[in-house]
């Protein structure tokens, strides 16, 4: 009960600045905590408070997905699969979290609910689209949150908010009971202030789910991340992943690479084209999802989201089919890298958290639009479906954190999490409580 009351008190204290929560489930949380207190059953997450991006179904609440339009939906009648599994492991849901509209976002800004804010500087972005998840965990309000990642929406907020995040292998965790965005690319996963909690949450949520046809039929493969890095072959992704990044992003990767004893850099083949193909699949599948809402309620969208979706609806289908054919080629050629490596390293974001309202980035001497370019390093990796642990780095004399992607072969979350645990234990990567 104490941890839940502490979380509820922190929401009251810190949310007026962070704007991370869109709903607080205090009554439900207190009832659950009381039931746990009355039970002798040992559970891995017993009494640990958590919150979820507001695209997860929570029984009794409409599933907003960051939108105005979804406020007219009836309340969800059941919790999402991953909420049920977290609570079965003893965790206690305390609320729903702010996010970019319909998850088409890398900033954490939201025109309807206002932006979720960076815990280390409230004038800066939390990152999107799981911005409230990053803000709530980074701000020390809850130790664990859940979010979604289509093109980087777990890894970007992890980077900007200085926390650990896990984007599992595509298909690893059930998406049942979550509002979709891009069926070909959507993933769900956890955020946490430390690797132990990240692993506990991940282990609690694994396993097949007949309610999600994309979910793997592989049985749960619980991870023990305490094994160290002996035997892990680590390589840095060069080429595309070194271009356009700020000095901080590159220094963070190099810091992690040195700590893990990385070998020679390797190139991910056709990474720029993979990012392009992910962009096309996202724009068009997202448009198909929202086509009827674009017809009926175009004025109720965030204009920036609406205009991208309308453009996506107008892309010829033949180009989308080619992007999906290219994905197969890219997958086959990406897997070959793992003949000589177990872990690949790349920046999460090209820079630390930008200012709220900022619309351009200065990258390698060039001014580029901010929104599409925050995800340039995350998009090719999720397009391949690879599991990634995002780990936070505080460089000397920096006031903001920045994240590194610790990437493993499909279904080898264990390796990415072992590396993350080692980096945390070595003091290279850590969450820093806010002042």
């Amino acid at each position: 009960m104490n941890a839940v009351e502490t979380a509820l008190a922190r929401i009251a204290e810190r949310n007026p600045v962070l704007n991370a929560f869109t709903a607080v489930t205090a009554d439900r949380a207190r009832a659950k905590a009381a039931a746990l207190d009355a039970s002798d059953v040992a559970l891995p997450l017993k009494g640990v408070p958590f919150a979820v991006k507001n695209l997860f179904d929570i029984a009794g609440i409409p599933t907003l997905a960051g939108s105005l339009i979804n406020r007219d939906r009836p309340a969800a009648t059941a919790d999402a699969t991953l909420i049920r599994r977290m609570e079965a492991a003893g965790a206690v849901l305390v609320g729903a979290l702010n996010m970019g509209e319909y998850a088409y976002d890398f900033t954490g800004e939201n025109v309807h609910d206002g932006p979720s804010r960076n815990p280390y500087d409230a004038t800066r972005m939390s990152g999107g689209s799981s911005g409230g998840s990053g803000s709530a965990v980074g701000g020390g309000v809850v130790p664990i949150a859940l979010g979604s990642d289509t093109n980087g929406s777990i890894r970007v907020p992890s980077s900007f908010c200085g926390i650990f995040g896990l984007k599992p292998t595509f298909g690893r965790l059930s998406r049942a009971g979550s509002f979709p965005f891009v069926a070909s690319l959507d993933h769900l996963g956890p955020f946490a202030t430390n690797v132990r909690d990240l692993v506990l949450a991940y282990n609690a949520m694994q396993g097949p789910d007949p309610e999600d046809p994309f979910c793997t039929e592989r049985p749960a493969e619980p991870v023990d991340a305490s094994g160290g890095i002996a035997g892990l072959r680590v390589r840095v992704l060069g080429g595309y992943f070194r271009q356009g990044a700020t000095a901080q992003a590159l220094a963070a990767v190099d810091t992690v690479a040195a700590a893990l004893g990385a070998g020679e850099p390797v190139e991910l083949p056709e990474a720029a084209r993979a990012r392009a193909a992910a962009y096309v699949v996202t724009a068009t599948e997202g448009a198909a999802l929202h086509l009827d809402r674009l017809r009926r309620r175009p004025n109720d969208f965030d204009p920036a989201v609406r205009d991208r979706l309308i453009a996506g609806a107008l892309v010829p289908a033949a180009l989308v089919a080619k992007a999906q054919k290219f994905r197969r080629w890219f997958r086959d050629n990406t897997l070959r890298l793992f003949d000589d490596a177990d872990i690949l390293l790349a920046p999460c974001t090209p820079c630390p958290a930008p200012l709220l309202g900022q619309t351009t980035l200065d990258l390698a001497g060039e001014t580029v639009p901010l929104r599409p370019n925050i995800g340039i390093y995350t998009q090719p990796i999720s397009f391949a479906g690879l599991p990634v642990a995002a780990v936070p780095v505080w460089l000397p004399n920096e006031t903001l954190p920045i994240g590194v992607q610790v990437i493993a072969a499909p279904w080898r979350e264990d390796m990415a999490l072992r590396a993350a645990a080692y980096l945390e234990q070595a003091g290279v990567c850590r969450w820093k409580p806010c002042a």
């Binding site: 070909s184 205009d307 609806a313 107008l314 892309v315 180009l319």
Partner: protein
């Protein structure tokens, strides 16, 4: 009227998406980026036998 403006006008009409003229510059800019990126994918040679990524299991 350029080709993208024509595509926006005709395509939105065929799809029954109502468009305010004030939205067109932003839609056009987004469409230009998406089609440019799609062209880079289109330019990549793939064999006829290359299967698309999604697999349907009945």
């Amino acid at each position: 009227m350029n080709d993208l403006e024509t595509l926006i006008d005709v395509g939105s009409r065929l799809l029954s998406i109502p468009i305010d003229p004030a939205w067109k510059p932003a839609i056009e800019a987004n469409l230009a980026v998406t089609l440019r990126l799609a062209a880079s994918v289109d330019a990549f040679p793939l064999p006829d036998e290359a299967d698309p990524a999604p697999v349907y299991r009945p």
